[in-house]
């Protein structure tokens, strides 16, 4: 069955430091992969997505993610974190046969001064 694993429930990063959030997926075909961010009390907003082509994708707010087929991973990165990046981050895989997204359990990012 299709699934997404985000092994880190929460991560604390100092402001200005780099960030990497991990995402592993299980899917039998070429995956469609997404990263969404949920700020406190808000809905989800798309950061970036991968369908095909270049395995390094750029998103909004200075985020990028790299698709690694051999590792079934789609990790999210940012070179320098800002306090406003504190939020919940969700990785998702698109399940074509069912026309739906399957989400991971999320990683909560805390940013320390």
């Amino acid at each position: 069955a299709q699934s997404v694993t985000q092994p880190d429930i929460h991560i604390t990063v100092s402001e200005g430091a780099s960030l990497e959030l991990r995402c592993n997926y299980s899917y039998g075909a070429t995956p469609y992969l997404f990263w969404y961010v949920q700020s406190p009390g808000q809905g989800l907003q798309l950061l970036l997505k991968y369908f095909s082509g270049d395995t390094l994708v750029q998103g909004i707010k200075g985020f990028e993610a790299e698709f690694k087929r051999s590792q079934s991973s789609f990790n999210l990165r940012k070179p320098s974190v800002h306090w406003s990046d504190a939020a919940e981050y969700f990785c998702a895989v698109g399940v074509i046969s069912f026309q739906k997204l399957v989400f991971g359990t999320g990683t909560r990012l805390l940013v320390s001064p």
């Binding site: 009390g41 808000q42 809905g43 919940e88 399940v95 074509i96 069912f98 026309q99 997204l101």
Partner: protein
């Protein structure tokens, strides 16, 4: 101008009551969704509609009934509310029919608390 809006934002009610949550999108999208986010932040799809037609109906109790009067609206009616229904419910929309490939735009959520 809000793209996907939901009302109400907060809903506190007693067990056994019936309640509705409304969702409207002004993006001109063809597909709309309802998601449930539980207390552990796990987000799971419940339903999707494309041009008023039901596409996805996950394993959801039949106390939950979506209704789409037109493609800009997807309401969620819940009968005989139970404690376990307490959650945040998100509405979302996407332009075409491919919910697995397209960007989904989410509303701000409705926080439902059943006492």
């Amino acid at each position: 101008d809000t793209a996907v809006s939901q009302t109400p934002k907060y809903l506190v009610t007693q067990m056994g009551n019936d309640k509705s949550i409304k969702c409207e999108q002004n993006l001109g999208h063809d597909t709309m969704y309802w998601y449930k986010q539980d207390s552990k932040k796990f987000l799971k799809i419940m339903f999707s509609y494309n041009n008023k037609e039901l596409i996805i109906n996950e394993t959801v109790p039949n106390r939950f009934s979506p209704k789409s009067p037109d493609k800009a609206h997807l309401n969620l009616h819940i009968n005989s509310l139970e404690l376990g229904d307490s959650a945040v419910y998100f509405c979302a929309s996407s332009q075409g029919t491919s919910g697995s490939q397209e960007t989904q735009y989410f509303g701000p959520g409705t926080r439902l608390l059943v006492l």
